[in-house]
Each structure stands twice: as structure tokens, then as C-alpha cells.
């Protein structure tokens, strides 16, 4: 039986679709944890990034929090969280929220900073109070970058949630980790395929939402590109 045949058989096996070890349950766990982590991180990071960008303050920290975040290996973060919080969903959640915050802060900050001074002046000149300027002018203009930050965060979280299987959590990473432990490489491969598909779907799906979220007046026919390493590169970096 060729490897491909074995892989197809694994997916065709009905027992792999039932129960707590089945694909639907693991998928649901994975999505729920990812969603909760990004949601919680957004609750913390969006107000922070937007406030800093609006006030034009704290730029050094807002930009560099992502550099620092990139330097911390997520594997280490998970195991440290495990030591502090015990096993299961809690350390996974804490580590994932921690990882999700930097891209949202950096990108929201950059988005708000990108609103040109003239536009803000014009809005104030029209008699808008600060709050209105923020919510009706700045945030809509910053939307592409804010969405890019959320998207980057989400893809990163889905990826790291895979690793969380190493600290006795569930999710789709379980197939990979358990398969490696038992040298069941068919299971490993199938788990990997599931995770890869999910990540690509999340990336594309959120990309679609991002495109929809840009106010009509701001949509450009060709987006200017910036190299990776600048916040508005729109990249998960």
C-alpha cells in the first residue's frame, strides 16, 4: 500500500471522525482556542495600539514589541506557561494571547500613525470632537493595517496552537504529536495536512474580510508594497 493510499485510508476511516479524538472535535477545539486567544488579545491590544497611534506617542515600544515578540520562541513560551499554570487549556491560552498581542499593537499603531496630519486637521476644523475624529476618520482610514494586524495575529495563533499539543492540550496538533510519539507517520502526515489546510483557509478567509473592511473610498486598484520589516508590509512578520 503506497503512502498516499494509507493517507487516504486514514481520512476515510470513520473512527477518525468521531469522539473527542475525532477530526471535528479537534478542529473545533483548535478554532475555539484560536478565536478566544485572538479575541482576548484584540481586547487588550487594539485599544492600546489605537490610543498610542492617535496620540502619536510610544512609537518606539509599539514598533519594537513586535521585534521582541518575534525573538521569543513560541515553544519556550508554551513550556514556561506550563510551568506557571499547569497543563491543559490554561497555559496554551495564556501563551497564545501573549503571542497574539504584538502584531495587533504594532499594526494598529502604524495604521493610526499613517493618517495624514492634514486629514486630522481638516476633521477637527469641521468641528469634530476628538472622539469623532478617532472613530469616524482615523480608524476607518487605518482599517487596512488594523485588519492586517489581526490577520497576522490569527495566523500566528493557529500555527502556535498546533504546538500547544506538546503541553498536553488538544487541537489538531495532537495528531502530529501523538503520531510522532508512536512513529505512526501516516497520522503525523494527516494531522499536518489538516493544520496546513486550516491555516491557509484562515489566512485567505481573513484576507477576504480585510478586503471587505476597507472603506470604499480608500480602496486602491494597486496597493503600494513595502518590504517586510515595516509594519504596513501586510505580512505575518
Amino acid at each position: 500500500m503506497t503512502f498516499l493510499h494509507q493517507v487516504l485510508q486514514w481520512f476515510a476511516d470513520p473512527s477518525h471522525w468521531q469522539g473527542t479524538g475525532g477530526i471535528p472535535h479537534r478542529l473545533a477545539e483548535h478554532l475555539l482556542m484560536s478565536g478566544a486567544s485572538v479575541g482576548t488579545a484584540a481586547l487588550i491590544a487594539l485599544p492600546l495600539g489605537i490610543a498610542l497611534g492617535h496620540r502619536r506617542r510610544g512609537g518606539f515600544y509599539a514598533i519594537n514589541v513586535s521585534n521582541v515578540g518575534r525573538a521569543i520562541p513560541s515553544f519556550a513560551l508554551l513550556v514556561i506557561a506550563l510551568q506557571v499554570f499547569g497543563i491543559g487549556a490554561r497555559p496554551a491560552f495564556v501563551a497564545l494571547v501573549a503571542l497574539a498581542i504584538p502584531p495587533i499593537v504594532t499594526n494598529s499603531y502604524a495604521g493610526l500613525m499613517g493618517v495624514e496630519a492634514d486629514i486630522r486637521e481638516a476633521a477637527r476644523g469641521m468641528g469634530m470632537r476628538e472622539r469623532a475624529v478617532l472613530f469616524r476618520v482615523e480608524i476607518p482610514i487605518a482599517m487596512p493595517l488594523i485588519m492586517a494586524g489581526l490577520r497576522t495575529s490569527a495566523v500566528q495563533v493557529v500555527a502556535t496552537a498546533t504546538l500547544a499539543a506538546l503541553v498536553a492540550w488538544g487541537g489538531l496538533g495532537r495528531y502530529i504529536v501523538d503520531g510522532l510519539a508512536q512513529r505512526d507517520f501516516v497520522q503525523v502526515f494527516c494531522g499536518a495536512v489538516l493544520v496546513a489546510l486550516l491555516s491557509i483557509l484562515v489566512e485567505l478567509g481573513l484576507g477576504g474580510i480585510q478586503a471587505l473592511a476597507i472603506p470604499r473610498g480608500l480602496r486602491l486598484t494597486s496597493a503600494p508594497e513595502r518590504p517586510v520589516g515595516y509594519p504596513d508590509s501586510g505580512l505575518a512578520a
Binding site: 499547569g86 497543563i87 498536553a168 510519539a181 512513529r183
Partner: protein
């Protein structure tokens, strides 16, 4: 000039990459052989196995053999095939589990260590392998509940028949299909658990899961030092699911010369179950390294000076 600078820097990077690739360590480098030959000792991926492997290996080294270690290689599914292929020469096995691995779960193991080893050898000899004399030291699969937990009053595995359906079992990923693990609990005791959680082989994850209540019953090896703290209750194997899991060296025949055999057997005769518990304590609680623990034991038992 500017283009040259850029090219030079680029070239530096590429050169650095090649340089480090060339200086890469060769993982399979064999040590220079001594007249007595070389032996590669492997272990399963839990501390007790690594300690035993170190004990065997360091003793052989003291006798003049060139010893290489491949510790924490993995579960039996990895280690035994490696022995068959000759990637490794020796590992510390557990008699009954070795037998059931060889006979694909036929159920031939008994509580009699010698009989179990003899049967084991009928399978091993055909593969040019051999199990030596079993030690008195036993480490078998055991199942524990948290003393302060919901099921802390249970004492025997057969006590669980009425409650198993509400309990979550935790163990190594391979547990559901292993004859001395979940599969055996179902077959011998008729226990069907509510759920199974893949954790580790009686390690910190399983213990933490018991502590936190994410599992109700977990696999903790019988020689684990945690039992002596009284925190966990080892459920009695009253219907004898487990058999003679005595420590026994499993070795390739072409490495099993008289000196090696007698050395390993004399080590095994000095090992008791209490020894295993105290060795495990040094690893789990004092966080000592397996090689340190092994060399201390060998010294105090006269195998090395």
C-alpha cells in the same frame, strides 16, 4: 566600489553558510575502536530506562569496551527495530512487555520471570537477539488515582468496574492499543473509560493531570518514586493484567560474549525494585542526570572504582 561591497557582503553570507555546513558534526561518527570492540546502548524515553542504560554502558566501558549511547530513543516501537537492524546493540528491557511485543499480544507472559524470559528467547533467537537473565527488579505498568481525589478511596483495579464509565484515563499515546495498558484494562477488567488523554509515559504531564483533575486515573510506573509520597494510590492489579516485567538486558547475539553476559547478569542480580525506586527519586526529585546517577550506583556497588 559600491557594487563590490554588496557583492562581498553577499559572498560572506554564502561562504558562512557553506563553512558551517562543512563544519557540521557528523552524527554517526563512530569512536575509534578498542580491541574489545564497540557496543551501542540505547534506552526508552523515560528516566529509569536512561539510568539503566547508563549503568550497563558505563560498566562495559570500565571493562574496556567502546561504548556509544543512544538514550531516549523512543518507545519500544522504535528501539526494538533499531536492535534488529543493528543500529543499536543493547537495551534494558522489561521481560513480559518484551514478550507481548514479540508475539503481537498473544498473551504468553506469566508472572514467572524465568519462564517468560525463556519464551521471549524463542522469538528473539530467531532474530539473532537474546535476552539475558532477568533481574529481581520489577517495573510494570501501574495505574494510579489521586489520594485526595474523587476516587482516592479505591484500592484495586477491579473496584472500578462500576465507575470506569465516568472516569478519564491518562497515559502515553500508545496506551489505547497496548495489551498492558488500556486495551488490557478493557480485556481483563472489563473497564471502558469515558475518555482517554494522551500525555506521557508516567511522567510529569500525567502527574500534573492527576493533580489538576483533568484525568481521574493515570499510568504511573510501579517503580516511580512518587508513590512513596503517598500522594497517589497505586491500584492493585488484583486480576493480574501485568506480568513479570523484570528488567532484562536485550542484546544482539554477536555482542553477547561471555564477559559481557556475565557482567550484565551480575549487575542485574544486584538490582532490586527498591533500587529502581531510589534511582528514580534521584532523577525526578533531585534532578540529577542519568549518567551521574548511574556512575554513583556503579561505584557504590563495586563495579567501578
Amino acid at each position: 566600489m559600491r557594487a563590490n561591497r554588496g557583492t562581498v557582503i553577499g559572498g560572506l553570507f554564502v561562504g558562512l553558510a557553506f563553512l558551517t555546513a562543512g563544519c557540521g558534526s557528523s552524527p554517526g561518527a563512530s569512536p575509534s575502536s578498542s580491541p574489545k570492540g564497540s557496543i551501542t546502548v540505547a534506552s526508552f524515553n523515560f528516566p529509569e530506562s536512561a539510568i539503566l542504560a547508563q549503568i550497563y554502558g558505563q560498566a562495559l566501558k570500565a571493562k574496556g569496551y567502546t561504548v556509544a549511547f543512544k538514550l531516549n530513543l523512543g518507545s519500544r516501537e522504535v528501539v526494538e527495530p533499531a536492535l534488529e537492524r543493528g543500529d543499536i546493540d543493547l537495551y534494558p528491557g522489561y521481560a513480559a512487555t518484551e514478550l507481548e511485543f514479540q508475539n503481537k499480544g498473544k498473551g504468553e507472559a506469566t508472572p514467572d520471570a524465568q519462564a517468560t524470559v525463556a519464551k521471549l528467547n524463542t522469538y528473539l533467537n530467531a532474530k539473532s537477539l537474546e535476552a539475558l537473565t532477568a533481574s529481581g527488579a520489577i517495573d510494570e505498568n501501574a495505574f494510579a488515582v489521586l489520594k485526595s481525589g474523587k476516587y482516592g478511596s479505591k484500592t484495586k483495579l477491579s473496584d472500578l468496574t462500576s465507575v470506569a464509565a465516568q472516569m478519564v484515563l491518562g497515559g502515553p499515546p500508545e496506551c489505547p492499543t497496548r495489551p498492558f495498558c488500556a486495551a488490557g484494562l478493557t480485556k481483563v477488567y472489563g473497564l471502558h473509560f469515558k475518555d482517554f488523554k494522551a500525555l506521557d509515559a508516567g511522567g510529569p504531564l500525567t502527574k500534573a493531570a492527576l493533580d489538576q483533575g483533568s484525568i481521574d486515573i493515570g499510568l504511573i510506573f510501579s517503580s516511580d518514586s512518587a508513590y512513596s509520597t503517598g500522594k497517589y494510590v497505586q491500584l492493585q492489579d488484583d486480576m493480574h493484567l501485568q506480568n513479570a516485567d523484570n528488567v532484562v538486558p536485550v542484546i544482539r547475539k554477536d555482542k553477547a560474549n561471555d564477559e559481557v553476559v556475565s557482567l550484565l547478569n551480575s549487575i542485574d542480580s544486584k538490582l532490586t525494585t527498591d533500587t529502581l525506586v531510589s534511582l528514580n527519586k534521584k532523577a525526578d526529585v533531585d534532578k540529577q542526570d542519568p549518567d551521574q546517577i548511574a556512575s554513583d550506583w556503579l561505584k557504590s556497588n563495586g563495579f567501578t572504582s
